[in-house]
């Protein structure tokens, strides 16, 4: 135990540098996946055949490829066609795109849960599609989408560890580096695990709270 605490004191400052990058990658990839996911969902909802086809195809392809392979693709293959990204940029974009497919499904489910009758009523008083989206669908869909959205953020926080494979020095990668030089695997990975848990638990509780709150009304 004292060995653990002593080790922890040594390793924590370095691990915290990793935490900062983990949070940066998570935050920005959540933003990208949310924006893109919303775009895919709207394209599906539009019922305009080409748009529906594009979004369905994209989602199917993205969901069929492991995230780690997508990251390799963006970081190692893109330079061949002249797109050079830093590891952090590639990680954020890769994770953002990969998760946009899952976000799109969440959003689509939320939008489709709104009874069509209300949408017709909104149209019948002269609302444009955009107004219907903003005033009728969104306010109700948000309640439906928020709990799964919380779960997605938790998954993205954990899956941000995947970007360690393209050299981003986030939490997992820092842990690996320390462990490799100290051979203190036990202490290092216990710490890494506890830090992930500490980051995700608040989100887990918040999501549960939202689930309970919205299932009542």
């Amino acid at each position: 135990m004292t060995g653990f605490l002593a080790g922890a004191a040594d390793y924590l400052p370095i691990l915290m540098e990793g935490v900062v990058l983990t949070l940066v990658v998570t935050l920005f990839s959540v933003m990208i996946s949310t924006g893109l996911g919303f775009v895919w969902a709207i394209m599906t909802w539009s019922r305009i055949p080409v748009l529906v086809w594009i979004s369905r195809t994209f989602i199917t392809v993205i969901r069929g490829i492991p995230i780690i392979v997508q990251l390799f693709y963006i970081y190692f293959v893109m330079p061949d066609i002249g797109i050079n990204l830093t590891a952090v940029q590639a990680g954020i974009i890769g994770l953002g795109i990969a998760y946009s497919a899952y976000q799109a499904e969440n959003f689509r489910a939320g939008i489709e849960a709104i009874d069509r009758g209300q949408i017709e009523a909104a149209h019948s008083i002269g609302m444009t599609d955009w107004l219907v989206m903003r005033r009728v669908i969104m306010p109700q869909a948000v309640r439906i989408v928020l709990p799964p959205f919380g779960n997605t953020i938790i998954m993205m926080l954990k899956d941000s560890s995947l970007v360690s494979t393209i050299t981003v020095a986030e939490l997992t990668r820092q842990g690996q580096l320390i462990a490799a030089s100290t051979f203190d695997n036990m202490t290092v990975f216990t710490l890494v695990a506890l830090i992930y848990l500490a980051l995700s638990l608040p989100l887990t509780f918040l999501t549960r709270h939202l689930e309970r709150r919205y299932s009542q009304s």
């Binding site: 009874d115 009758g117 209300q118 017709e120 009523a121 909104a122 149209h123 019948s124 008083i125 002269g126 609302m127 444009t128 107004l131 005033r135 009728v136 306010p139 109700q140």
Partner: protein, 244 residues
């Protein structure tokens, strides 16, 4: 004011409207009756541009109803619709439901729209329910809010699609009496209904629709009391004597 000219409408290979024509004059109340699946809802939905039609034309105040054109927004502000299942916005209060169109479609100031909405809710007998959510209201009350919502657009005509069919029998009267008041103020109305009493008392004209065509039409005192066509006779007999 509304002119339906030989419209045809198919869903896939199924033709559900087979050449329907009628005109509705300003201030007139037209009731449409007919068996389930005869195309009554489809006709109203075409007039409101919620559904496209394949052939013919529908004119509202001389403007063609075209759901694929931007002008449909203008048409819909002139013709409101009341639905069988109310279709209120469940996340908004009664008064917000009524204000929604005036504020967001017509751009009327909130305060002004609120006063107007309160007056309309008062008129349909729900002055004390302004801040209730639809979930807290009975079916009859919800439908009256929906009528207030339609009136708030100050439309030139209102289309009603079986407005009392989803209601418990004891709640039908309150909705019909609000509709009668609206008619008495000179509103142009097209009402799909199974309430023959309402048609007899309020309609200027009744259309009997079957299998996508108008079989017979006329003033309620003729068509309902002394129908000419055997199909109309048969339908009315079944509505009035459902157990036989």
């Amino acid at each position: 004011m509304i002119s339906v000219q030989d419209i045809h409408k198919s869903f896939g290979t199924l033709e559900v409207i087979k050449g329907v024509s009628f005109d509705v004059a300003k201030g007139e109340v037209v009731c449409i009756i007919g068996p389930s699946g005869s195309g009554k809802s489809t006709i109203l939905r075409c007039i409101n541009g919620l559904e496209t039609y394949n052939r013919g034309a529908i004119l509202v105040e001389g403007t063609k109803v075209d759901p694929t054109d931007r002008s449909i927004i203008e048409t819909r502000t002139q013709v409101s619709m009341v639905f069988q299942r109310f279709n209120l916005f469940p996340h908004r209060t009664a008064i917000e439901n009524v204000m929604e169109g005036p504020v967001y479609v017509k751009g009327i100031k909130r305060n002004e729209a609120r006063d107007q909405a309160a007056a309309l809710l008062e008129k349909v007998g729900l002055g004390d329910k302004c801040d209730s959510h639809p979930g807290q209201l009975s079916g009859g009350q919800q439908q009256r809010v929906a009528i207030a919502r339609a009136l708030a657009m100050q439309p030139k005509a209102i289309l009603f699609d079986e407005p009392t069919s989803a209601l418990d029998p004891e709640l039908v009267g309150e909705v019909l009496s609000v509709m009668r008041d609206v008619a008495a103020e000179g509103m142009t109305m097209v009402v799909v209904t199974h309430e023959m009493g309402f048609a007899r008392a309020v309609a200027d004209r009744v259309l009997f629709l079957e299998s996508g065509t108008i079989v017979e039409q006329g003033p309620p005192k003729d068509l309902l009391r002394d129908p000419q066509h055997p199909r109309t006779k048969d339908f009315l007999h079944r509505v009035i004597h459902p157990m036989e």
